[in-house]
């Protein structure tokens, strides 16, 4: 079907921010003055264009356009075309990315106002938006892979934005490396697709899933999952995400909360046809989601660094999404819905946190906060709304989307259904606990500020986005579930959502959940709301808390299982190469030299010994010849 009119320039959505990035990076200091405005402009324009395209998409049969731009690689039987696919799924993501992206750009104008590297920051941010858009818009796994690594790079650059801080530099490297581990999975999955089907385009692969042997599909599914885990900070590759908070807060908001880390969910949702063919892989997805959900929630309970808490919360929330996509067709829509809602409130929360840090001279230790509600009213309100949305306060977005997931989990039935449902509910409770704890420690109670700190509300350029996002956090869930059901919109992608026969009535579910959430919040109040919060973390605590503080020992495991052995191996190899391989070479040379010196001793300089040599030679020759003839 010919693509014309607006949709034929969908590529502009990507090119706009990319151009912005290029201009800022190449333009150099010349662009210092207006660079950030340009960057923001491009993203806003991209958002506008995205909206227009989406609208144009709605009245189009099949609600999908595939756009072939140019031949990327064509040799042998491999033919990779650089092409875009705009369908409901990618459209949703494009809107999220450009929308939230635009808001955060605006926010950053204020947030980074005094940073010498502001131009660089906006350039990277634009670069990220472009890469992320490519990731979701690509019409083949290769295109996705390109975007996939692109966002990885952007994330690396932005985490390490304040690169003179060793912690930031290290965190960035860690993030990139753990992502690369995931990328290996993704790459191998692509190789298998090509080897089996001779194509890597969505159309080609999904069209031929039926031809694949069961084992093959499972392999592909698991490898894709590995990639997803890397990108989305899911177990066992979750350890990089909390460290990534070393980056500027807007980055945490955009990349490590709203968009990039949800790419894993997108990948699995996008690969639905594959997963539909492999229950095994899907079950693993479920497991990963459930486990991560708990890990994130538990670790979130014990941290005092406001951003780390939010980060673990992100890990845990994405766990919910994995859980949902792991549940299959019934869960896809729910997952995406939660993803969008999460995009709003988590971005809002991070921006709020940023505003708090802005006010507190970049302190992140919640034990030094307290009583900020009065000093930062707007922040307090917006943050509060986000908080309520997140813990699933009735009729806010979290409530709609999270309950949906829990329902679907329970509907799975059987012991696994109960288990998953239970985990999900428990997670909700924990979420309520750590978020309430965060709220109380930050905004309520007696100020525990360090001396010389004078909290003040952030400038409008920062508060405005927070307000918008807060609105989103409140409304998104309602809109996406009740008003314009997302499942309907996504139907062309995931097919007709079958009306599941509820094992447990939704009403009961939401009541139970609400109760659990309330309990969680109450516990938090008992801990930190009722009594004084010590300004330094108590040292003597239960092993559980210690474990939680150390992110359930994820880093410890990585270090002892991978890093140290790796370092030992490297040292050993360096030694081997110098002494062993090269030693053999030099040794051979030395041996020759030594042999030469020793042999040279035969040359004594005595005529008679020479004569002996000649005679001996003659005898040998004669003997040999006689032997030959005889």
């Amino acid at each position: 079907m010919p693509v014309d009119g607006l949709l034929s320039v969908t590529w502009l959505v990507i090119v706009l921010p990319l151009a912005g990035a290029a201009l800022l990076l190449l333009g150099g200091r010349r662009t210092d003055r207006w660079g950030h405005l340009l960057a923001t402009g491009t993203v806003v324009a991209a958002f506008a264009l995205a909206v227009a395209c989406t609208v144009a998409l709605t009245d189009r049969a099949g609600r999908a356009v595939s756009l072939d731009l140019f031949t990327f690689i064509d040799t042998g039987s491999l033919d990779v075309t650089a092409g875009l696919l705009l369908d409901p799924l990618s459209a949703v993501f494009v809107l999220l990315i450009t929308g939230v992206g635009a808001l955060i750009h605006v926010y950053s104008i204020g947030y980074m106002a005094h940073d010498p590297g502001r131009r660089r920051f906006f350039a990277y941010l634009n670069l990220f938006v472009a890469a992320m858009l490519l990731l979701v818009l690509g019409n083949s796994y290769v295109a996705l892979y390109v975007g996939w690594e692109g966002v990885g790079l952007a994330s690396y650059l932005l985490i390490a934005f304040w690169h003179t801080r060793p912690a930031a530099a290290t965190a960035a490297k860690k993030a990139f490396l753990m992502n690369r581990v995931g990328d290996v999975g993704l790459a191998l999955a692509i190789f298998i697709m090509f080897a089996q089907l001779g194509t890597t385009s969505y159309a080609g692969v999904f069209g031929a899933v039926g031809l694949l042997a069961g084992g093959t599909v499972t392999a592909i599914g698991l490898l894709l999952l590995l990639g997803a885990c890397g990108k989305s900070g899911q177990f066992p590759l979750q350890a990089w995400l909390p460290d990534a908070m070393e980056g500027p807060t807007p980055v945490s908001a955009l990349i490590h909360a709203a968009t990039m880390v949800t790419a894993g969910v997108y990948l699995i949702a996008r690969s639905a046809p594959l997963y539909d063919a492999t229950p095994t892989a899907r079950t693993v997805v479920l497991a990963v989601g459930a486990v991560t959900l708990l890990i994130g929630a538990i670790a979130g309970c014990a941290h005092d660094d406001i951003k780390k808490v939010l980060a673990y919360s992100t890990v845990s929330q994405i766990g919910y999404m994995f859980l949902a996509v792991g549940l299959g067709p019934v869960g896809y829509a729910a997952a995406i819905a939660h993803l969008l809602a999460h995009g709003f409130f988590k971005a809002g929360l991070f921006l709020g946190a940023g505003s708090v840090m802005h006010a507190m001279d970049d302190t992140v230790d919640m034990r030094r906060f307290g009583g900020l509600a009065r000093r930062l009213p707007i922040t307090f309100v917006t943050f509060g709304l986000g908080y309520l949305a997140l813990i699933g306060f009735p009729f806010l977005s979290g409530w709609w989307t999270k309950d949906a997931i829990i329902e679907v989990a329970l509907d799975r039935g059987g012991w696994s259904g109960w288990l998953l449902g239970g985990v999900a509910v428990l997670g909700a409770g924990l979420t309520a606990f750590y978020m309430t704890r965060l709220m109380l420690m930050t905004f309520f109670g007696r100020p525990r500020w360090e001396d010389g700190v004078h909290p003040h509300e952030a400038p409008p350029s920062m508060t405005a986005p927070m307000v918008l996002l807060a609105v989103g956090s409140v409304a998104a869930g309602f809109l996406l579930v009740a008003v314009f059901p997302l499942s309907g919109w996504l139907e062309p992608v995931f097919g007709e959502p079958e009306e599941a026969a509820h094992l447990v009535s939704p009403l009961v579910v939401s009541i139970v959940v609400t109760v659990v959430v309330a309990l969680g919040a109450l516990t938090a109040w008992l801990y930190v709301g009722r009594r004084e919060v010590p300004t330094t973390a108590p040292a003597r605590v239960s092993p559980v808390v210690t474990a939680a503080r150390r992110g359930l020992y994820a880093d410890t495991v990585n270090e002892s299982l991978v890093m140290r052995p790796g370092m030992w191996l490297t040292r050993a190899l360096v030694w081997l190469d110098a002494r062993g391989v090269d030693g053999a070479v030099n040794g051979a040379a030395a041996a020759l030299g030594g042999g030469s010196a020793r042999l040279g001793r035969v040359q004594t300089g005595f005529v008679r010994s020479y004569a002996l040599g000649i005679l001996g030679g003659a005898v040998l020759v004669a003997g040999a010849l006689l032997a030959v003839t005889a």
Partner: protein, 554 residues
């Protein structure tokens, strides 16, 4: 246009240039380097014209010249290029001017109590090297190829030996002997080939096209193959024949290192593709598994070693060894996709690693030390330098969007259908690649300022002390750090340096986004090679039953 002897010109021009420069008095250094630049640019122009004259769809070898040279041995001075060779010629054409620019301010390593030596000889050797490099890729007569192959050693030997770092003598001799040994063993095979042709065709010949027609007994093939293979495995270094490269790469002046790793060593992989496969198809097929073991072992082994290096130039050399592993994997996987990838890899690696070497050289030129630990936090003061450094690093870890991604992706995806296990192991290598690149980048560019570039506030101001290493040998000298220091005294890229890196940066990005023209240039030659070893040039066929794939159509 195609009746102009482009290839002869490409060999003759730099050779003549070398002679002229060598004839200059030692004092006329400035003139010498200007001449060198002019000549190398002229060669670049010739390379471009050659490419225009070349018709990708035409015969396998084009722009051929053939003159009887040593009739008694049936040796011809026969030149001709296919897409693969041509792409290498283009690479040479691009790299040499860049190298000239990069070495513009180099001086021989100062020796205590002796007057500084003149660089004139450097430029002469450089041009001679260019001429011989062109010859080795353009030769279609095995004897001629061998002659260039060996003769190439001499200029590089002198480049390393007289303009290299502190340990240059050891490195130069090691390089020369190692390569010579390989070359001599290959000579045995070359002669063997000649003798076979003599017995089969009545009169001995070295013409590639004639030799390809020979029907050689498999066992003889194995012997001959072994001879060629050893020579190429030493050149392109495959583990365990690699230990000369880190020494040479580290001690050579930056310009020499770039050409050594960027072009010279490609002769090895080029040789696999041009000579080993077509001439000894059976042997290649039988021995491929063993070669692949070396290749893949090299990818992992060299990458781990790179992680463990403390010397930037050694590190880059080790990364190259790993990359050569990928190229070998692509060649011996026997699929069109992988082989195409390998050829692209040869070009891209030349560009990416060339840039990496040049940038490392620029860092060394500022700090005067090759040790990573002597630097830190440069990014704060020299963002451009850091940016280019990062880009070069990303290119060498094959990040999508850079040229290397295309080639690495092609190699792996092409090798997977025939050699899944090897490919999976190789794919793990991409994590290690990220590790060694980012480790070096973080230690040198990130973190708080530290290392040899820290100087006291007061003398940080004026320009010249900003380059403590200015006038140290080819950016290879070792300088001990100033004692107490406070601010980082490092200059960002100068105009000249920007001019040097720009073309490579541009190529990295352009070839990363739109590689198809290059692919179209090389794939006919690759397909021909695949046909030689009896592989369907159409590419690998999908394994899934009933799957038609989308081969070349969608």
């Amino acid at each position: 246009m195609s009746d102009v002897p482009w290839l002869v010109l490409m060999i003759a021009v730099p050779a003549v240039g070398a002679a002229v420069v060598a004839a200059l008095p030692a004092a006329r250094e400035a003139l010498a380097r200007q001449l060198a630049l002019a000549v190398s640019l002229l060669v670049l122009l010739l390379a471009v014209l050659t490419t225009i004259a070349f018709d990708p769809g035409g015969d396998r070898f084009q722009l051929t010249t053939a003159v009887a040279w040593i009739p008694d041995f049936g040796v011809e001075f026969a030149l001709g290029v296919d897409g693969i060779a041509l792409s290498m010629l283009l690479l040479i054409g691009v790299l040499v001017p860049v190298v000239v620019g990069a070495s513009w301010r180099d001086t021989p390593m100062p020796r205590p109590g002796r007057p500084a030596r003149s660089m004139t000889a450097f430029w002469a050797w450089l041009l001679l090297l260019e001429s011989l490099m062109v010859g080795v890729f353009a030769a279609t007569d095995v004897f001629l190829f061998y002659v260039f192959f060996e003769a190439m050693l001499v200029p590089m030997y002198f480049l390393i030996g007289s303009f290299g770092g502190p340990n240059r003598q050891y490195a130069a001799v090691k390089f020369f002997l190692y390569s010579l040994l390989g070359g001599l063993v290959m000579l045995a095979s070359v002669i063997g080939l000649y003798v076979v042709s003599n017995s089969q065709l009545g009169e001995g010949t070295f013409a590639f096209d004639a030799l390809r027609q020979l029907e050689i007994d498999p066992n003889v093939q194995k012997l001959l193959f072994a001879g060629f293979f050893l020579a190429f495995a030493i050149k392109a270094p495959l583990v365990p024949f690699h230990t000369w490269l880190p020494d040479s790469g580290a001690e050579a002046p930056i310009g020499g290192a770039v050409l050594l790793v960027g072009v010279l060593d490609k002769v090895g992989t080029f040789g696999f593709l041009r000579y080993c496969l077509p001439l000894f198809p059976d042997a290649s097929r039988d021995l491929a598994p063993w070669v692949l073991v070396l290749a893949v072992a090299g990818i992992i082994y060299a990458a781990l070693l790179a992680v463990g290096q403390s010397d930037m130039k050694r590190l880059v050399s080790y990364t190259s060894i790993a990359h050569f592993g990928f190229i070998a994997l692509g060649i011996f996987a026997f699929t069109t996709e992988a082989a195409t990838g390998a050829v692209l890899y040869m070009v891209n690696h030349g560009i990416a690693t060339g840039l990496l070497f040049i940038v490392v050289g620029m860092v060394i030129a500022r700090g005067g030390s090759r040790q990573i630990r002597d630097y830190g936090g440069l990014a704060a003061k020299a963002p451009l330098l850091a940016g280019v450094f990062l880009l070069a690093g990303l290119a060498s870890l094959a990040l999508p969007g850079t040229n290397s991604f295309v080639s690495e992706f092609l190699v792996l995806i092409g090798a997977f259908p025939t050699r899944p296990v090897f490919t999976i192991i190789a794919t793990v290598g991409i994590v290690l690649a990220a590790l060694y690149v980012l480790l070096m980048y973080q230690r040198v560019m990130h973190g708080p300022p530290r290392g040899v570039l820290l100087v006291d506030e007061d003398d940080a101001g004026d320009g010249e002390t900003l380059r403590p290493a200015s006038g140290t040998g080819g950016a290879t000298a070792v300088l001990e750090a100033p004692a107490r220091a406070r601010v980082l005294a490092v200059r960002d890229l100068s105009r000249r340096e920007i001019a040097v890196v720009t073309p490579l940066v541009a190529l990295i990005l352009v070839l990363g986004v739109y590689p198809q023209p290059l692919i179209d240039l090389v794939s006919p030659a690759v397909e021909a090679t695949m046909t030689d070893i009896g592989v369907d040039p159409g590419g690998s066929t999908p394994a899934a039953p009933g799957s038609t794939g989308t081969g070349g159509t969608d």
